[in-house]
Symmetry: C2
Subunit: 218 residues, 2 copies
């Protein structure tokens, strides 16, 4: 990819998917993979896989395929997950606690370095091994920590305020678990994790399977 | 849409996005919305929005737009989220606890009706107001409950086994929080919630912003 140009977001999403599968394959001690096998694993067409990689360089050998460890390491560097990334968390509730305790973050070199909340009953207490700070101190604390990724795990009504505080503290990437549409400056990227929306898609599937099995008489 | 035909998954994903915004607008007592305003809110082009709706019927009035409450109710019925949907949860860890306690599920008529785990230290205890059952009893218990959606909140290594047990118990839709690729029969839909992948996309963004601000000398 030419310097200064950014990869399109859907390509990045697919890269992250390939990456996850490569990690699985490494655990299973698989040495090489073809683009056809990648299609079988991920459901993403082999041609798309080759095209996505071609943005970033030359990978793979015709007739041999891709060396799993090498390709995983290359995607590490493309996505910039080869170095530790610090995360700030706003929201020390149940979801926040689950995130702090989630082993998958550390495996991928994401490290939650500070937790913030606006509830005085929580401030000063510990969430696992992290102290919970007053969200009013976010900017001050991040002037030291210099984290660039923020995680929002607060109720809907508090989400925009949390986003504002994170952006004001120098964060330019937000992972948002709240069911709210965040308004942010153009240099900030937001990724929403909306499992209720995923459930709605599943709900449609369940209803359509049921209507085939047992035609309703509505 | 002709009877018996299923909507494409990307259209369903977008419908779920529109739905979330319509709920926000209802809370703000907004009465009507134009497709251009929907584009501003969601980032999905107005033409795409109109096309997505046209799959399912005639909505909106030229020059007036869409009545928020009516369109929200119509999408409720399309996605089949107008009736209570029962969910089974496998995994009574931190994430499972966060899900059981998550108010957003109830708001959307999703109800977690049973929790399963394979850890004998947990079986028989309560997770919030639900008893934790032995995952070996999943099929027996779901023969009574008849839930069709399963939520997987177990570690990666246990995810396929949880999926097998859920499918065997009659579930045909899976919400998977584990970082694992599940193999399921063709009638089963899987939606993966992979926030580590979302973090990888954010990580790329942070690195590309940093490289613009401060060119690296690699």
């Amino acid at each position: 990819m030419p310097p200064g140009q950014r990869a399109p977001v859907p390509a990045l999403e697919r890269l992250a998917t390939y990456h996850r599968h490569l990690l699985d394959l490494e655990q299973e001690s698989v040495v090489t993979i073809s683009s056809a096998e990648m299609e079988t694993h991920t459901g993403i067409p082999a041609a798309q896989f080759r095209k996505d990689l071609s943005y970033f360089g030359d990978f793979g050998t015709p007739g041999v395929g891709y060396v799993v460890t090498e390709l995983r390491a290359a995607i590490d560097r493309i996505l910039h997950v080869h170095e530790e990334q610090c995360l700030l968390l706003v929201g020390a509730g149940n979801l926040g606690a689950a995130l702090v305790g989630y082993p998958g973050l550390m495996e991928q070199k994401f490290r939650l370095v500070a937790v913030f909340d606006n509830n005085y009953a929580k401030i000063g207490r510990q969430l696992w091994n992290l102290e919970i700070y007053d969200v009013a101190r976010l900017k001050e604390i991040n002037s030291v920590l210099q984290a660039r990724i923020g995680v929002i795990a607060v109720p809907r009504q508090a989400a925009q305020e949390a986003a504002n505080a994170l952006v004001d503290a120098g964060v330019n990437a937000l992972l948002n678990f709240a069911p709210a549409t965040l308004r942010v400056p153009s240099h900030v990227m937001v990724r929403n994790v909306s499992f209720v929306q995923e459930l709605a898609v599943l709900s449609y599937h369940v209803a359509s399977v049921a209507s085939v099995e047992q035609p309703s008489d509505r």
